[in-house]
Amino acid sequence: MWLVALSLAACRHNAHTDPSALRADPFAAGTLEVPGAAGSATASLSPEVRAALEANFARVHFATDSALLDPEARAALAANAAILLDHRDVRVEVQGHADERGTVDYNLALGQRRGRVVIDELVARGVGPARLALVSYGEERPLVAGGGESVWAENRRAEFRLLTGPQGVHGTID
């Protein structure tokens, strides 16, 4: 319904959204948007809907060896925060990434710093910190293979993943 449509509209990075996912409305039961209530859990969503929802979250990119948020990154995070504020049963994992340059251990710490900055921004926009997990992948999970500045720029990023399993369940479903 309108929740999904709204969050799709808010995001420019949803190239992989499957239209069929929109018809499989996860919120048809109408149990959402009651702050603090145990509504339908993330884990109950179908894989297609989960993927569609997850694709709504914009990636955030960074300059070399930096975790500063530029205006574009702040705009993307504003949109991501809006999704999270609309879907209060959703928990996400923020994944911090670095490009391949520099050592593995330094880049793990750098990915952690980027993820932390993103989470701090979301919290500042009203998202409850308990809904945000953080993991750094350093240079271990490049988005694009290869080298060169354009590739490295793609790989210096933070991404969002919907959490599943017990950690991701915000309440239970009978």
């Binding site: 050592t103 593995v104 251990d105 793990l108 710490a109 952690q112 710093r113 953080l134 992948y137 271990e140």
Partner: protein, 430 residues
């Protein structure tokens, strides 16, 4: 060789030493094929010879003379069994003669399963035998026999044994994900340490070589574990939500220094190596603090820190106290590793062309560049004798392990496939 250098060699020989620093690769050496009982096929002797020849070439001390130029026809190895003039003629300085007996041979292990290799090391200008020794091994141990011979040659010519046959831990990707492996220094004998299908990083040896600490995502967070190589058991050392990485064992093996993030950027902690219990937090704030490495003796660590802006190398006491900045050139220096003799620190520095391995002398502060304009060169680890550095390099277009003498003059590739990073040289056998 000039008469002056010859005289130097001869006076040094009084102490049994011809040369003491690898890298010049200018001592002419001949290593003829092993003598083998006439009825035996040559394959075994060829394999051992090949290991010896390549190890000695690899050592960086010798100019290996081309075997096609050898003029000696006889095959005797013992003094008096061959004509030394045949080697004087082609200006050989060190002659390495070997003799191999296959498993169970009457002259080695009659009716048994052992094979033997004898090595004779000669200083040709003085017509002098420097050393001779017999090595025994099982039939499968041909490569190790070769390494033992090469080490004996280095002991006879440099005064300290070589490092051949020693093992590396490293991160490899042949299964498609990063796992920890062990391998011989020459890239042979690859065996897995981890097989969990997750990302595995940053291996570090316990000082007795019995355990490996490393970082793994096997529980979806980069946590730090220690595996006992003897029992195969793994224990969790540090698993705070966040980064747990870059472990290094204290010289007595009881503690681990590591980097982990608790609130903000990663800091350096000291924990119990058996239980993971925190002993002390060594750094706080000041940006990313990572990659601690104990200075021999165990009183100090070196580490990388952003406290002054870009990452630089610092040294601090583990008992508490001020950190001292060690590097000033360059705007990004990380991953310091102190040589086992405590005299030098190898580290990684960003340059316009990529990342390079540098070695700084802790006494003189002189910095030696090991790599330049050769792609990205990272993850230095020292040989137990402090004479070599192994590191990863992308100079061939893929990430491989390379060895260099500590002066950077002589470098060789160890691996024959890509995807290798983060080597850690096993400690010397106790």
């Amino acid at each position: 060789m000039t008469p002056i250098l010859l005289a130097l060699c001869q006076s040094a020989l009084a102490q049994g030493i011809i040369i003491d620093v690898p890298g010049s690769a200018d001592i002419p050496m001949a290593v003829p094929k092993p003598q083998l009982p006439a009825t035996e096929p040559a394959a075994l002797a060829e394999e051992i010879w090949s290991v010896v020849f390549h190890d000695l070439e690899f050592s960086g001390y010798f100019e290996m003379q081309n075997p096609s130029g050898y003029v000696e026809k006889g095959k005797g190895v013992e003094p008096g069994q061959f004509d030394m003039n045949a080697w004087t003629l082609i200006k050989t300085t060190v002659l390495v003669k070997t003799r191999v007996y296959p498993a169970g041979h009457a002259a080695c292990d009659p009716g048994g399963s052992k094979m033997c290799a004898d090595v004779y090391v000669y200083y040709v200008p003085g017509s002098q035998k420097l050393a001779s020794k017999r090595f025994r091994s099982t039939a499968e141990g041909a490569r190790q026999l070769g390494h033992a011979i090469a080490n004996q040659v280095l002991l006879a010519t440099t005064g300290s044994p070589g490092v051949f046959g020693s093992r590396l831990a490293a991160v490899g990707t042949k299964t498609g994900n990063k796992e920890i492996y062990l391998m011989d220094l020459d890239g042979h004998g690859v065996t897995p340490v981890t097989r969990n299908g997750a990302i595995n990083l940053s291996p570090a040896w316990s000082p007795d070589g019995s355990q490996i600490a490393w970082t793994s995502y096997k529980k979806a967070n980069p946590d730090l574990y220690v595996k006992d190589l003897g029992t195969g058991r793994t224990r969790t050392i540090s698993n705070v939500k966040g980064v747990n990485t870059s472990p290094d064992f204290s010289p007595d093996g009881t503690k681990l220094a590591l980097a982990r993030s608790v609130e903000g950027d990663s800091d350096v902690f000291l924990v119990d190596a058996r239980t993971g219990t925190e002993i002390r937090r060594l750094t706080s704030g000041g940006g990313i603090d990572v990659s601690p490495d104990f200075v021999p003796g165990g009183a100090d660590i070196v580490f990388a820190s952003e406290r002054s802006g870009g990452s630089q190398i610092y040294r601090m006491p583990v008992g508490g106290g001020e950190a001292t900045r060690l590097t000033f050139a360059g705007d990004f220096n990380v991953d310091p590793v102190v040589s086992p003799d405590g005299t030098k620190v190898a580290y990684v520095s960003r340059s316009p062309s990529g990342f390079d391995v540098l070695v700084a002398d802790l006494e003189t502060k002189n910095v030696t560049r090991i790599t330049q304009d050769m792609g990205d060169n990272e993850d230095p680890t020292w040989s137990p004798d402090s004479k070599y550095v192994v590191f990863s390099s992308t100079r061939t277009g893929r990430s491989e392990l390379w060895i260099s003498t500590a002066d950077g003059r002589h470098q060789s590739r160890l691996t024959e496939s890509g995807g290798w990073t983060q080597p850690a040289w096993a400690p010397a056998a106790p």
